[in-house]
Amino acid sequence: MSNTLEKLKTALLPLVGFAAALTLWQALSMTVSPDLPTPMKTWEESREYVFKPFAKRGEMDQGILRFTWYSLILVAKGYAIALIIGTPIGFLLGLSKGFHSIFDPIIQILRPVSPLAWLPLGLVLFLSAGKQASELGALFTIAICSMWPTVLNTAVGVRSIPQDYINVARALKLSKAQTLMKVLLPATLPYMFTGYRLSLGIAWLVIVAAEMLTGKPGVGGFLWQEYNALNYARIILCILTIGFVGFILDRLMGLVEKRFKTA
């Protein structure tokens, strides 16, 4: 009996949190922030975007899921670049003391730089690409911002491989390639996937900033446009969408990560 009660509790308690947030929101819009649309008004102005999620009425007037799709594609590209570059760098940092001494200081300095700071540089870098400049600049920003957790976690993973495993590889005289594929890589995988999960979180954070500044269609671009068009209700729609998608992405990566943890 108490078991079902516990289950009911875990199912209902989050609703209490949502209700509290809605109340606070309602209260704010009725008192200190009269320009903040109430939850009800937000819903009324957003329903068209939610009920026709894939509609395309114009470049910057599309269903919310269609915008989300654009954003996801851009994130996927930037994230892929981050992993492809970040994983080997992480391995080198973990394997070679010399490499670590040379590059760790630069990494520590570049790591805390905000996406808003990288984006202009990204645009400048690809200025000669003409029409492609904003897309490439956005990809550059996503990749360079989301790369660091992958780099650092991989490096930590490589460094914490038990000496026992290395000894097995040495005692059997495995070649460098075999040692990498059969010992180093599998031993590092759990750390790598922790890095990948954190990187994905950052990549999704950066997308909004990138789209806002480049004006590309997507959730972030839509958000910025609606702010400029004074449609504040849809800003909230975008925020909720971004949060929800980010949550799902994190859960999915969490599942993948768990799968490799037990290996």
């Binding site: 026992d164 495993y165 000894n167 040495r170 005289k173």
Partner: protein, 296 residues
């Protein structure tokens, strides 16, 4: 008898901030082909260091090791190592762990052959049914069985066992000692084992090398163990010489392990003078130590 493994003036020195720390100094040992030799000594005396130098996992500071007529340089699958912790790779099944070594040692054999070799050794150690299990699904004793299978499956020139049963409870330890000795009996691989278990040393070995306490550990006394083979635990325990040998070992560990044959007996450091290793005497027994060889 031919000397199969020759360890000559093996020395290991680690540099420390307080100056060099000499772990092992001028360690000499000769092992015949097919002989099972055990190194025994207090923990920290450097016996594992000697073994890891023979394994090639730890470079010697000085001295040389010759195995089957060749000087050893680095590690390789010609020596089968059983580590104290089984050191299995957790992402591979028991069979794949054994295969990893077999693939290295028999790279010219076909896939099927290599698979069969790995399967055979797992069956011999009693894990035929658990071949496809991951180490996490196996008990500590079963994991060490896989470790033993992996070492034997290499068909190595010699076996190196580093306190192979140190992490097991005593019942499992007895069981695995039997597994090891049964497997060893098939082709009498030359074996060097490190242990601090007196009974284990007596049950398994032909010769027990007592190491003096570190630092600067060296060979203290040498005990010949001549119980008839194949050995059965009960018979060994009932052998008239068993308790005498056991007593000798324990009294060495308790009373004489601080003595240094190289200095205390000769007076001056004369490690390189060959009189301690008379020709034909594979044991570098200090001249004044009474012979403890037993004939039964």
């Amino acid at each position: 008898m031919s000397e199969y493994l020759i360890i000559d003036n093996l020395t290991k020195i680690y540099p420390t901030p307080k100056g060099p720390s000499i772990i092992v100094k001028d360690f000499n040992l000769r092992i015949k082909k097919g002989e099972f030799v055990t190194l025994i000594g207090h923990s920290g005396c450097g016996k594992s260091t000697v073994l890891s130098m023979v394994a090639g996992l730890n470079p010697a500071t000085d001295g040389g090791i010759i195995l089957a007529g060749r000087e050893l340089a680095g590690a390789g699958p010609d020596r089968g190592i059983v580590f104290q912790s089984p050191c299995l790779l957790p992402w591979f099944t028991a069979l794949e762990n054994v295969r990893l070594g077999v693939d290295q040692a028999f790279y010219t054999a076909s896939r099927t052959e290599r698979h069969q070799i790995a399967e055979y050794y797992l069956t011999v150690v009693g894990l035929g049914d658990a071949a496809n299990k991951k180490p996490a699904e196996l008990s500590q004793g079963m994991r060490q069985r896989v470790g033993i299978a992996r070492a034997f499956a290499l068909s190595p020139k010699m076996l190196l066992l580093d306190e192979p049963f140190g992490m097991l409870d005593s019942l499992t330890r007895f069981e695995l000692q039997q597994v090891l000795i049964d497997l060893w009996r098939r082709d009498r691989k030359t074996a060097l084992m490190v242990t601090h278990d007196v009974d284990e040393a007596l049950f398994l070995s032909d010769r027990v090398i007592c190491m003096t306490n570190g630092p600067e550990a060296e060979v203290g006394e040498i005990l010949e163990v001549t119980f008839p083979r194949p050995r059965i635990r009960k018979e060994v325990l009932n052998h008239p010489d068993y308790y005498r040998l056991r007593e000798t070992l324990i009294s060495f560990l308790n009373e004489r392990s601080d003595l240094r044959p190289s200095r205390d007996k000769v007076g001056v450091e004369q490690n390189n003078i060959p009189h301690r290793n008379e020709p034909g005497d594979h044991a570098n027994r200090p001249p004044s130590t009474p012979a403890m060889a037993l004939t039964s």
